[in-house]
């Protein structure tokens, strides 16, 4: 029983990490139908930025996280303005290949600067170890992860439901043409959303270093997880991403605990089955 709770807890914490990594892609995909496989590469960028500023400039961990967010957001805007926007009207295949190309290049650049070794991030004292509750030990960092992601979710939901920009984003996702017709600058909205989403990926990348490590294959490795969250949850839906990420995180941890010999088989099986029944994802609208 207690091991079951621990698995649920660890799985949920991992799921929340996946949520922060992937929610940006879900919104940008829903908004512009642009399949950005380089999303994970922005996560990798965030991870490397966090590691570097902590090691070279002596930033504390809590300052390194927003730095990772900012760095990923700024770099993503440059990419979006210079390159990605040329591909909005292109076929899916071209979008996929172009962004895979970006992942390849990003991975090679990371190898050039950091080598292929796993990067280590030294956590502050108060995030290490575990606390005991009801006779079970919970990792402090995982609690921290869950708290951060719940804050992010809260901010996102509030921002989308209650602010002007949020209303504009929702309008553009629901019906881009009508939104344009009403005078909304959809391109600008998209640029801002893209930056915020990639920034979140950068934040997720920085948070992920402690859990899964960081090496140049990060962009590829997490691509699959991120895409599963987005497609299973449904495009443009924050609730969908949240549920999809939680399911995937718990399923992954539980599957590896109970049936280690078949690895991730169950996850892929579940994804194919869900998409077969609901091609638009659990919460997808179109």
């Amino acid at each position: 029983m207690s091991s079951l709770i621990i698995i649920l807890f660890d799985g949920f914490a991992f799921g929340m990490l996946l949520f922060v990594l992937s929610v940006g892609l879900s919104v940008t995909l829903g908004l512009m139908n642009f399949i950005n496989l380089a999303h994970g590469a922005f996560g990798m960028l965030g991870g490397y930025v966090a590691v570097t500023v902590m090691r070279q400039l002596g930033f504390p961990f809590l300052l390194a996280l927003p730095t990772a967010f900012l760095a990923a957001a700024i770099v993503s805007v440059i990419f979006e303005r210079l390159l990605f926007r040329r591909l909005y009207g292109a076929t899916e295949l071209n979008q996929v290949l172009f962004t895979i190309g970006v992942v390849f290049v990003a991975s090679a650049v990371a190898t050039y600067f950091f080598g292929t070794v796993q990067q280590v991030l030294i956590l502050p004292e108060w995030l290490r170890g575990s606390v005991e509750l009801f006779g079970m030990r919970f990792g402090v960092y995982r609690i921290f992860l869950i708290v951060i992601s719940l804050i992010v979710t809260g901010v996102l939901v509030f921002g989308l439901e209650r602010t002007r920009l949020g209303a504009q984003i929702r309008a553009a996702v629901d019906n881009q043409r009508a939104a344009k017709g009403l005078g909304l600058d959809v391109e600008k909205i998209f640029g801002i959303t893209f930056a915020l989403g990639s920034g979140l990926a950068g934040l997720g990348g920085a948070l992920a270093v402690e859990i899964v490590g960081l090496d140049p294959s990060f962009g590829f490795h997490f691509l699959v997880y991120v895409l599963i969250v987005v497609s299973v949850g449904g495009l443009g839906s924050i609730t969908g991403s949240f549920v999809g990420a939680a399911l995937l995180g718990i399923g992954d941890v539980a599957g590896k605990y109970f049936w280690p010999e078949i690895g991730s088989f169950l996850i892929y099986m579940l994804m194919v089955a869900i998409l077969f029944v609901r091609p638009l994802g659990l919460f997808g609208k179109r």
Partner: protein, 328 residues
């Protein structure tokens, strides 16, 4: 009445004119024989290229002609490779029957998978092909008793072809065999894409909504071509197993699925020679660049991909034919 026969005649004439051999094609195929005489030390690489070209050809049939995007076609390549390897291990080393059986096996699995594939489009299609590919790899990894797991399988030397041509160390037989299979499959594909069935597939690619409106059963077309493509990919995998006498989990990997799409994009989708030219360029470039600096091979291939997508959307062949001023 006379009117219909007239249009039928021209339609048939048009199809026939499409399938006429041009002198360039004959020169191209003759040039593929050159490695026998000019670069005998590179024959193993040449047969790798022929195998990759066959695999790319199979993907071109569904991606370039029928518009089914796939990120998991290595699944069928790997199934064919393991099928051939297991036949070899079981003591049946006859190459041609082994090749056909492996192709048949992959084709049957492909037909079963096609029921899922034709139901979905866009992102869900990408994810399902990717998911099926990863699923197969995980399964092969778990079934260690059958597939050897991460160690892979070593198989006894394949028997001589027609009981006469031995598989030699230098790869003369290997290249001749793979090239012959590639050529036969190419002829088949050429026949398929220049038939009325091939035209229907192109219709699906161009506008999937209009096809049912004009009474074309597009789903069964897609299923047929998907099964054919899977069988061809399986044969490519079987060729790899037979010529190298080893199979590892790498044959099922996502990298292989991605590489083949990259080759196709480099050469140009929707044209059969695009697959072959793409495989040649990709593998020769990898052989040369990886020799210089293996770690940064992905940098160059990534850059090449970005350039091709931005500036040559129809691939290198499409770019060349535009330079030559010919319409597609």
């Amino acid at each position: 009445m006379t009117d219909t026969t007239f249009t039928q005649a021209t339609a048939r004439g048009w199809l026939r004119s499409q399938s006429r051999w041009s002198p360039f094609e004959i020169i191209f195929w003759l040039a593929l024989l050159l490695p026998f005489f000019l670069f005998p030390t590179y024959l193993p690489l040449a047969s790798q290229i022929a195998i990759a070209a066959l695999f790319a050809l199979s993907v071109d049939l569904i991606l370039g002609y029928a518009g089914i995007i796939t990120l998991g076609h290595a699944m069928f390549f790997g199934l064919g490779a393991y099928c051939a390897a297991l036949l070899g291990k079981a003591g049946w080393g006859e190459p041609i029957s082994g090749l056909l059986l492996s192709g048949l096996f992959a084709g049957i699995i492909g037909f079963i998978a096609s029921f899922i594939i034709v139901r979905v489009q866009h992102l869900a299609l990408l994810m399902i092909t990717l998911g099926l590919g990863l699923l197969t790899q995980e399964l092969a990894n778990a079934l260690t008793w059958l597939t050897g797991g991460t160690d892979g399988l070593r198989i006894p030397r394949t028997w001589p072809i027609f009981n006469y041509f031995r598989f030699d160390l230098w790869g003369y037989t290997g290249y001749g065999y793979t090239l012959a299979v590639l050529f036969i499959c190419f002829l088949l594909s050429r026949r398929i894409v220049n038939s009325s069935f091939g035209l229907a597939l192109r219709g699906v690619r161009e506008n999937i909504k209009r096809m049912p409106a004009i009474g074309s059963a597009y789903q069964s077309h897609q299923q047929k071509i998907y099964a054919i493509s899977a069988a061809m990919a399986g044969m490519a995998g079987a060729l790899l197993a037979q010529t190298t006498s080893t199979v590892t989990l790498e044959v099922l990997s996502f990298n292989r699925s991605a590489d083949v799409v990259v080759m196709l994009i480099l050469g140009g989708t929707g044209r059969l020679y695009g697959a072959i030219v793409g495989a040649i360029i990709f593998l020769i470039a990898r052989d040369q660049l990886a020799g210089v600096n293996p770690q940064y091979w992905y940098f160059w291939i990534g850059l090449l991909l970005m350039v091709v997508v931005l500036f040559m959307p129809k691939g290198i062949l499409g770019f060349v034919s535009r330079l030559a001023g010919r319409r597609d």
